[in-house]
C-alpha cells in the first residue's frame, strides 16, 4: 500500500482529534525542546567563557601555589581552574611557603629565552579616588613591570610601572582613562598630577605616571552598574602594595607569557618541574603551572560531563513520551477494532495493518519532534541572548532530533501496530 496514503491517513486521523494528538505528543515535544534548548545554551556558555578566558590571556601560563591535599570546590575542578575563576581556595600560608624573588630570579636565568613576560599582581583592596565632588571607584593592585605586557594593556599617556619604581617602592600609579576623566576632566591632564585615594582606614597620595585604556570585559551575567560607578584598576608598584598591606616578600601566584614560538603547555611543564625542586620538602604546598589551554580543556570536560547528564535526563523524558505514544496507540487501536476487521475483510494483510499503525506512530512523533525543535530553538535563542551570547543550534543537532523522534515512533509504535496486525478479522468485525 502507498506510503503516501498511509501518511495522509495518519495526518487525517491526527487532525480529527487535535486535542488528543497534542496530549499524545506532549512528552516528545518537551523532551526534544529540552535537549535543543540545553545544547544551545551549553554552546553559548562555553563560547562566552572561552572567549572571556582568551581575552584574559590566551597564551598565558598561570603559576600558583597549591595545597598538596586540597579541598576541592567542585569534583573534577583543579585548583588552577578554581583560582582562575576567582575562587579563593588558598589556605593559610607561612612566609617560607611563598614563592620568593630569588626563585623567580633563578627561573629567569634558566628559562629567560622562552619567557616573554612574567607578571605579578597583588590586590590591595577597593578604594575611591576623590577630589572635591569628583570621584572614581578603584580596585588598587600592586603590579610589576611585565604586567602591562601580559595583560595587553593599552597605554594612552605616560609610562607603566617600572623596575625602578619597584626598587624604590614609591607612590606612583597608572590609572584608567575613566578615572583620569572623572578626576581631572581630561585624560592627558592627569599626567604628573597627584591623586588622593581613600581606602578603608587611610588616604594615600600617588603621582600619576601613566594612563591606560579601560576595556570592559564581556563577562556573562554581570550586574550592570552606572557609568560613573564603574570600578577600574589602579596600578601601583608591587613593593608599595606590600608595604601598605604588610604582606611578606614573596608571592602566591604569577603569570607567565610564553614567547611567540614557544608552546605554552610545554613551558608550563618545565616551570612546574623547576619549582618541584624547591617544594619537594614542603609538606603542605607545591607549585603548579597550567596554561590557558589546560584550563579551557578542563572546562570543556566539565561542560561535557554536564551535557551528558542533561542528555540522559532528556532521554528519560523522551522515553516517557514514547510510552505515552504507545499507550494512546493501544487505546486508539482498541477503539478502531471494527475498522481493522473491515480492512482485513477487504483484503488488508497483517503487514498492511502493521505498517499503517507504525506510520501513524512515526507521524505523531515526527510532528511532536518538529514542534519540540521549534520550541527548543525559540527557548535556546532567547536564553542565550539573555546570557549575552546569542547562539543557534547547529543543523546537526536538529537532524539528530528529527531522526530520534522518528525512531521513537517506530520503537513505541511497534507493539500496538503488531497487536492490530494480529487481530482475527472475524472477532474484530464482531466487536461492539
Amino acid at each position: 500500500m502507498d506510503f503516501i496514503e498511509n501518511i495522509r491517513l495518519a495526518v487525517t486521523g491526527l487532525l480529527s482529534n487535535k486535542m488528543r494528538a497534542l496530549l499524545t505528543m506532549l512528552g516528545i515535544i518537551i523532551g526534544i525542546a529540552a535537549v535543543i534548548t540545553i545544547v544551545t545554551l551549553g554552546d553559548a556558555i562555553t563560547s562566552t567563557v572561552s572567549s572571556t578566558m582568551e581575552e584574559m590571556g590566551g597564551k598565558n601560563i598561570t603559576v600558583l601555589l597549591e595545597e598538596k591535599n586540597p579541598e576541592v570546590v567542585l569534583p573534577g575542578m583543579s585548583q588552577t581552574l578554581g583560582v582562575s575563576m576567582g575562587f579563593d581556595i588558598m589556605g593559610n600560608m607561612a612566609e617560607s611557603d611563598l614563592i620568593s624573588d630569588e626563585m623567580i630570579g633563578q627561573l629567569w636565568d634558566r628559562y629567560g629565552d622562552e619567557i616573554q613576560a612574567l607578571s605579578m599582581i597583588e590586590q590591595v583592596g577597593n578604594g575611591k579616588a576623590q577630589d572635591g565632588r569628583a570621584y572614581s571607584n578603584l580596585s588598587v593592585s600592586g603590579v610589576n613591570e611585565d604586567y602591562e605586557k601580559s595583560e595587553s594593556l593599552t597605554l594612552l599617556e605616560g609610562r607603566f610601572i617600572n623596575d625602578r619604581d619597584i626598587d624604590r617602592a614609591v607612590n606612583v600609579a597608572v590609572i584608567s582613562d575613566k578615572t583620569a576623566e572623572a578626576i581631572f576632566g581630561q585624560a592627558d591632564k592627569a599626567l604628573a598630577q597627584e591623586i588622593k585615594v581613600h581606602m578603608d582606614t587611610e588616604i594615600q597620595t600617588y603621582t600619576v605616571v601613566g594612563i591606560y585604556e579601560y576595556e570592559e570585559l564581556v563577562m556573562p551575567m554581570t550586574t550592570q552598574v552606572a557609568e560613573e560607578d564603574v570600578r577600574t584598576a589602579f596600578y601601583i608598584p608591587l613593593s608599595t602594595a606590600r608595604k601598605q598591606t604588610g604582606a611578606p616578600d614573596g608571592c602566591k601566584s604569577f603569570t607567565l607569557m610564553a614567547k611567540q614560538n614557544i608552546q605554552p603547555s610545554e613551558l608550563a611543564d618545565k616551570v612546574e618541574n623547576f619549582f618541584d625542586v624547591y617544594y619537594r620538602d614542603n609538606v603542605n604546598y607545591r607549585c603548579s603551572a597550567a596554561s590557558m589551554d589546560t584550563i579551557i580543556e578542563q572546562m570543556d570536560d566539565i561542560m561535557g560531563t554536564v551535557s551528558v547528564a542533561i542528555a540522559v535526563i532528556a532521554g528519560i523524558s523522551l522515553l516517557v513520551g514514547g510510552i505515552g505514544v504507545m499507550n494512546i496507540m493501544l487505546v486508539s487501536i482498541t477503539e478502531r477494532t471494527r475498522e481493522i476487521g473491515t480492512r482485513k475483510a477487504l483484503g488488508a494483510t497483517n503487514g498492511n495493518i502493521r505498517i499503517q499503525f507504525v506510520v501513524e506512530a512515526v507521524i505523531i512523533c515526527l510532528i511532536g519532534g518538529i514542534i519540540g525543535i521549534i520550541l527548543g530553538i525559540l527557548c535556546g535563542v532567547f536564553g542565550s541572548s539573555v546570557l549575552g551570547y546569542p547562539a543557534f543550534p547547529g543543523i546537526g543537532i536538529i537532524l539528530i532530533a528529527v531522526t530520534f523522534s522518528m525512531l521513537i515512533g517506530v520503537f513505541f509504535g511497534y507493539y500496538p501496530a503488531n497487536k492490530a496486525a494480529r487481530m482475527d478479522p472475524i472477532e474484530a468485525l464482531r466487536y461492539e
Binding site: R343, K344, G347, N350
Partner: protein, 236 residues
C-alpha cells in the same frame, strides 16, 4: 439453449468444528455441499444458531473449514494460508455488512477506493473506477461526503460500490437491510436486483428473513449445520 454458466462456488463435504475445551469439539457444519454459478442471485437462510455465520465466514475466506473442499472461481482455497486468504478476499470477495462498516472520517470516494489500495492499483485508476461505481449506485453526488454525513441507506450504497471495487467473483451480503427501515431496505434490495440483472453480478445473500430470501433466484435453507432445502425463489 442457455449457456452452461461457470461454477463460481463449489463446496463439498465442508465441516467446521471449534474446540471448546478438550476433549470436546463442537461441530457446527456437518459436511455441507454448495454450488453457485456465475450470475446467480442466491440467498442462504437460517435462524440464529443454524451455523449461517460460520458458513458465511468460510464462503468469504475469513475462515478455513476443518475439512472439505472449497473451490472458489476455480481455485481450491480450503487449505490456503492467512496471507493467501487476504489476497483472495481482496480480489474475489466483495463484502457488504449489516452495519455498513465504512471507514469513518474518510470520504465515500476514498472508502470505495480502499480495496483497490490493497490490491496495488494506481491512484488515477482507483479514483476513476471509484467514481464510476458510485455513479452506478447513484451516489455520484455525494462522493466527498463522509459516512457521518450519510444516511443508513446511502452508507449501504457506498458499501455496495466498495464491494464491487476489484470486480470480485461474488458479492457476499450479510443481512444488508438489517439496520435499515423497510423503505430504505427496499431501495437497497432494488439495487442488488439491478446489479444482478444489468451487470450480471453473482450475489450471495445471508439472512434470517424469509421474505427477503424469497426475492432471490434460489433459496438455500440452513438448519443445525446442514442444508435442508434448495428452492427456487424469484418473488419480488
Amino acid at each position: 439453449m442457455s449457456e452452461e454458466k461457470q461454477v463460481i462456488i463449489q463446496m463439498k463435504g465442508i465441516r467446521k468444528s471449534f474446540y471448546i475445551g478438550q476433549p470436546h469439539e463442537l461441530e457446527i457444519l456437518h459436511g455441507i455441499g454448495l454450488s453457485v454459478r456465475k450470475g446467480e442471485f442466491v440467498s442462504i437462510v437460517g435462524a440464529s444458531g443454524s451455523g449461517k455465520s460460520t458458513l458465511m465466514n468460510i464462503i468469504g475466506a475469513l475462515d478455513r473449514p476443518t475439512s472439505g473442499e472449497y473451490i472458489l472461481d476455480g481455485v481450491d482455497i480450503s487449505k490456503a494460508g492467512d496471507g493467501e486468504l487476504s489476497g483472495i478476499r481482496n480480489r474475489k470477495i466483495g463484502f457488504v455488512f449489516q452495519t455498513f462498516n465504512l471507514i469513518p472520517r474518510t470520504s465515500a470516494l476514498k472508502n470505495v477506493e480502499l480495496p483497490m489500495l490493497y490490491s496495488g492499483t494506481s491512484k488515477s485508476l482507483r479514483t476513476a473506477r471509484a467514481k464510476e461505481l458510485l455513479e452506478i449506485v447513484e451516489m455520484g453526488e455525494r462522493m466527498s461526503h463522509q459516512p457521518s454525513e450519510l444516511s443508513g441507506g446511502q452508507k449501504q450504497r457506498v458499501a455496495i460500490a466498495r464491494a464491487m471495487a476489484n470486480d470480485p467473483a461474488i458479492i457476499l451480503a450479510d443481512e444488508p437491510t438489517g439496520a435499515l427501515d423497510s423503505e430504505t431496505g427496499r431501495l437497497v434490495m432494488d439495487l442488488f436486483h439491478k446489479l444482478h440483472r444489468e451487470q450480471g453480478k453473482t450475489i450471495v445473500l445471508i439472512t434470517h428473513n424469509q421474505e427477503l430470501a424469497l426475492e432471490t433466484e434460489r433459496i438455500l435453507t440452513l438448519r443445525d449445520g446442514n442444508f435442508i432445502s434448495d428452492e427456487k425463489g424469484g418473488q419480488v
